[in-house]
Symmetry: C3
Subunit: 316 residues, 3 copies
Amino acid sequence: MKLSEVASILQCEFHGKDIEIIGMNTLKDAKENEVSFVSNSKYVKDLKDTNAAAVILSENLASELSVKSSPLVTENPYWSMAILSKYFAPPIEDTKLPQPKIGKNCNISQQATIANGAVIGDNCTILAHVYIGAEVTIGNNTVIYPSVTVYRDCKIGNDCMIHANTVIGSDGFGFATNNLGEHKKIYQNGNVVIEDDVEIGSNTSIDRAVFGSTLIKKGVRIDNLVQIGHNCEIGEYCVMVSQVGLAGSSKFGRNVVMGGQAAASGHLEVAAFSTFAARSGITNSIKEPGKTYAGFPLMGHRQWLKLQAKLARLIK
Amino acid sequence: MKLSEVASILQCEFHGKDIEIIGMNTLKDAKENEVSFVSNSKYVKDLKDTNAAAVILSENLASELSVKSSPLVTENPYWSMAILSKYFAPPIEDTKLPQPKIGKNCNISQQATIANGAVIGDNCTILAHVYIGAEVTIGNNTVIYPSVTVYRDCKIGNDCMIHANTVIGSDGFGFATNNLGEHKKIYQNGNVVIEDDVEIGSNTSIDRAVFGSTLIKKGVRIDNLVQIGHNCEIGEYCVMVSQVGLAGSSKFGRNVVMGGQAAASGHLEVAAFSTFAARSGITNSIKEPGKTYAGFPLMGHRQWLKLQAKLARLIK
Amino acid sequence: MKLSEVASILQCEFHGKDIEIIGMNTLKDAKENEVSFVSNSKYVKDLKDTNAAAVILSENLASELSVKSSPLVTENPYWSMAILSKYFAPPIEDTKLPQPKIGKNCNISQQATIANGAVIGDNCTILAHVYIGAEVTIGNNTVIYPSVTVYRDCKIGNDCMIHANTVIGSDGFGFATNNLGEHKKIYQNGNVVIEDDVEIGSNTSIDRAVFGSTLIKKGVRIDNLVQIGHNCEIGEYCVMVSQVGLAGSSKFGRNVVMGGQAAASGHLEVAAFSTFAARSGITNSIKEPGKTYAGFPLMGHRQWLKLQAKLARLIK
């Protein structure tokens, strides 16, 4: 799509070079043929260095933008971004893509559905009622149990096991809200990348990224009924016990363990080898590695025990 | 079924006009060809005005019943109601219903299953392994991702998106228990109604109503792994973040926001524009609109912060 | 597999009778043609009485072992057990098993998948996209809604109802971890046994046992999005409300009620007729039957109310 068409969709003015735009991205990651946006003051600092062809922003920020980039001034940039995201969403399936490519020695159920453009490695087992979306790639020796859904563009490594009815790559929970309280969907045009030797339980949901990838690194173990939000990064050998819930964009170091029903809010960094007791609620980044925590609000595990002892005394 | 047959199933006496009965309902909503019941003292006041053909009740309440209605006296009215509910449950599928009716320009997977009696609008996308039950109706432009199950009689509006492996219309959690501790299923003969422009995440469960409808109004956004109990009403543009759990029969005003893992017990009313922090637990109705809450037990968000500060001091 | 092959897989020495080994089991339950292991000091006491053909253990425990059993000494017995578990895992499906056997008067969808070796009773309804694994048995009058997955070897009784997208028999969350923080899967070679008259909601996960069975007894009611860990035993007529989470190996007496989002840690015993309020967290066994609890940490329900009143006063 031409940049002039983008401006026309957003009903905003546009002056500059009318180049072909292939997608949307963050200010930091946008390439010279992508459009970006700013709707959070935290990212204003990235305006001056962005490579984006154009940036959707409010009028007062136009002067901060790199001269290489064209401003697209709108009243509600987040809402405008949501409108535009739909235009860059790929089709869910695409019959023009090549027939799926299946490796040697696979056992693929006749009742599974493999969309065009998918590539599956050697020695894989894919059971009945599994859905493998367009352009998904799966490595070797991976087992996918019945009724798993893998949305388009996701990547699964070697030696993985995904249990029944789990969903990989459903849309992240993203929308803009206007001043009437109405919502507009932000299409989630990223994907999920699962590295090698990952096991994921049943009825778990791992959302695709809005841009880029939700990343599950090597050796991770995820239990049943777990929620992994869009753009999270789960470090090597992390352990997420049943019913854990992670909001979006948090980054976990290696071997982090979260007990059952524990949760983390979004945009955090959690140091390697941290352990969180069942029902912990993480709301701030953890910088020191290797400690054990509990509670909500979160505190050191020993402090939590001390607090519970104090509370017990209150009712004696 | 004749009213005399109803009495015979419940092994109770019956005097009155032996009319044809077509279903069961609450005292308030029952029509002249429906049977109702009372098992909770809260509803005794509705006995005198009910239009029900007959009411299952305990002997001591028979005198409170409207003269237009026949009493069906049993020892455990709730148990009797459960027994009777099975007789009014429609068949799960019905080959006598007409072939499904599909609108123009739809993309329906060959691996999807559409039961007889279903009606699907124009421009819909229904992916593989989806199940659309008997007499379900779906509007225009709606997208249903793989392995979604929509139980019979549910209604989905225009411009909706339902993510993979979500279940719409599974039975509400209803049963009677006798004094031996045994349970008897209450068949859930209502449905789920989803209005226009609703997006629902993956692995979410929305239960059908016991009578009437579980209602999800226009513009609602529901995330992954959310539980919506039977007979809830979710107001326009509400936002339910991942792993939220709602018990039955609660009614949420418009633009209510519930953070991750928040929950509400049953039979509450929650005022519009209320916001609940992650893990909030709502156990009482909220009458004043537009406030922010946290904690379990629930309190104002500021009070919650104050309480946490006090607790932190306890362990210093 | 010969015992000498077992020793060779584990790269450990072996002296003794080279008998045929058919599986693995706990020290207590192992038969004379099974291998066992000890990795937890709690079970050292069982070494002297085990009937296992051989036991994987650390060098210092070899002298405690019954003379009838051969020691298999390794540095990390739990890791060794994990390695060996893979060799005793049955194939997911097996074309050499007999065609599935279906009882009289069943209604089995053409879009359901029934693996070889399965046996289904009379008057069952199995809807579209259901997967019934190898050697699963199902009793009479049982209804299984769309996209339910039942893994191999599980048993479901008479008069059960399993709602859509629920998973019975996915692998328990079991793995050994070495001192580099890497994980090794412990294959879960047990099953799930569901007795008669059990109703299970939608999107629920019940994990198979590592050895033996996860057991759901007669008349149990389980709601949506519930997690039941491997080797749990749920007593007759128990009620598990939505989003309850149970870790592994806990044993619940009859008519235990757990409210929404309540949870229990592993290896507990909970007395009959105990009631747990929503969000309760059980971390110790409950010996006295018939009491009501709340909170996390768990306390008597009245104490919990008292504590909340005290806390409310703190912020006045």
